[in-house]
Amino acid sequence: MSAWLRFVGGYWRLLLVVLLPGCISTNANSQQLMYLAQAGVECSPNDSTVSCCIKQHPGDPERCGATAPPKPEVEDTVRAAEAASEPAKGKEADPDDGYRDHCIDMYVLCQQRKWSGNCHDCLRYRQGQKQWPFDVCGKR
């Protein structure tokens, strides 16, 4: 398994790209998700990673060699997405370019590094506040 695959955490990343609307917009519909998944591609010409492939072909993950996650994990992630809070508003809200990928990458790192705290809760906080709560999920 390549280093990149270890980093993105295989199907976890795929699962979140497809099922985590809060990382894009809490009101995004599936069509918007597909569009954004494609519009958000930032792959270099030689990028042959699973992550890039999934972004380019969000509706066909098996084409990228990704396998489906176990059902309980799908349900957990769907519940997490449904419980996502609204984005923060007010003076402290400022641009947060690339936050869709950041949601996913930080969640995967949280799981892989075995950071303290509940990675699902931290992901939801990240979605709402546009910042990762390192005081909760960051240390081991």
Partner: protein
């Protein structure tokens, strides 16, 4: 997750900015004193600020800024460093974290960045 100190200070700063004032109770003083220390505001500076509502509000906003900007800086650095590492650029990955360490003052963020630096060196 919502009841922790850092989140409370950030909410306090938001509401103070919205209302244009901060109610400086003993509880708020204790919270700000505690979290200010955690984001590397000196005790002397914090005590000075906590004498008046207006300066306490400025302190809350500054503490909140350090939490927010540090978090975003760190998450970007960690994610980008892992990408570089995965592509075989270990030096570039470490440099990103070193650049962050050169400017980050919040001890928790520095500790996490150092852990990540160690992780990428394995």
């Amino acid at each position: 997750l919502e009841s922790r100190d850092w989140h409370q200070v950030q909410e306090l700063a938001k509401s103070a900015q919205r209302d244009g004032a901060l109610a400086l109770t003993d509880e708020v003083r204790d919270l700000l004193r505690r979290v200010a220390r955690e984001v590397a505001v000196s005790d002397g500076e914090a005590e000075q600020a906590l004498r008046f509502s207006a300066s306490a509000m400025d302190l809350a906003i500054e503490v909140s800024r350090r939490i927010r900007e540090g978090s975003r800086r760190l998450s970007r650095a960690i994610v980008d460093a892992n990408r570089l590492h995965a592509s075989g650029n270990l030096l570039g990955a470490r440099r990103l974290l070193e650049e962050l360490l050169a400017q980050e003052v919040v001890p928790l963020y520095r500790e996490i960045a150092r852990n990540e630096w160690d992780e990428l060196g394995l």
